[in-house]
Symmetry: C2
Subunit: 198 residues, 2 copies
Amino acid sequence: MTRRTGRRPGNPGTREAILDAARAAFAERGFDAASIRAIAAAAGVDPALVHHYFGNKDQLFLTAMNFPVDPGQLVPRVLAGDRDGVGERMVRIFLGVWDSPAGSAGVALLRSAVSNEWTARLLREFITTQVLRRVLEQLDVAPAELPLRGSLVATQMIGLAMMRHVIRLEPVASADPEALAAAIGPTIQRYLTGPLPT
Amino acid sequence: MTRRTGRRPGNPGTREAILDAARAAFAERGFDAASIRAIAAAAGVDPALVHHYFGNKDQLFLTAMNFPVDPGQLVPRVLAGDRDGVGERMVRIFLGVWDSPAGSAGVALLRSAVSNEWTARLLREFITTQVLRRVLEQLDVAPAELPLRGSLVATQMIGLAMMRHVIRLEPVASADPEALAAAIGPTIQRYLTGPLPT
């Protein structure tokens, strides 16, 4: 047996080095400004290797965050249907992820984000670029209102995840997902498409 | 100098022993079932000493949680005014506490609650008995609906605190409190007094 020391394709150390560089870049510069090229340079590898291992930038981001679900796959389901139902569908699909085995990754991410500023930054980038922007850009609302609408949605969604899965306050902790979608859906709908205070 | 070893009035160890026993009792049995008498017994002191140090059970609970604000003082302000404005007033007063120096204790409590099951239990008891029950009992809603209404309010409030003060997602993180009260108040109002899905 020979012991590998250098970085080369297939070396697990290379993969981790890329993910470390990606986390640093996404946290420091934000998702949009971080480039695969710069992440590859920081990890000391060719950009093609980053693509080979992780696919595109969205996929690299999700892997770097240990996030087991790709919101890009879920957003079309949120948007499929009438505009007035998008709030309720968003809550239903959100709960579907959190109530699944993937939810434990979400709890771990929340736990880390409350005590670690870097994870908090990554979580902000994740919420904004992977979820909210994708939904809001399809809803025909004024572009200037997107940030406020998005962050209002985030307050309700993160609070739902906190109370159901972390603090576990009853009856929300064990309520039927459909009942929660019916109760909380109108809140999300108003934040997304309703009138905003001026 | 003589070294004190026993527990006696004025010994700082006594005060801490009472607070430790109180945290254990509130977390294990819940606020309502925990008695000053049992807490005193667990700490090896007379119940009168607990009252002498900490006042009533509410005050002991707030001290045990290191919570710098007594919701009992704030609830009358939430309820003062028309019933349709209670949601907006609740958000405004909640933000007033979180935006004040007391907010750092709230952030510390949230951080602890996401990683520590005991603190999560104490936080659940705090939210339920010190805040939600006091507001909801004055609002003339069906008693059977109180738990769901209260826990829905908690999802939105805790999410607001998380996004504004812990994750710090903009623009919610630095938005004017009045704008947030106007945007989020109707959500709280609906959870408190609006129709619930059946």
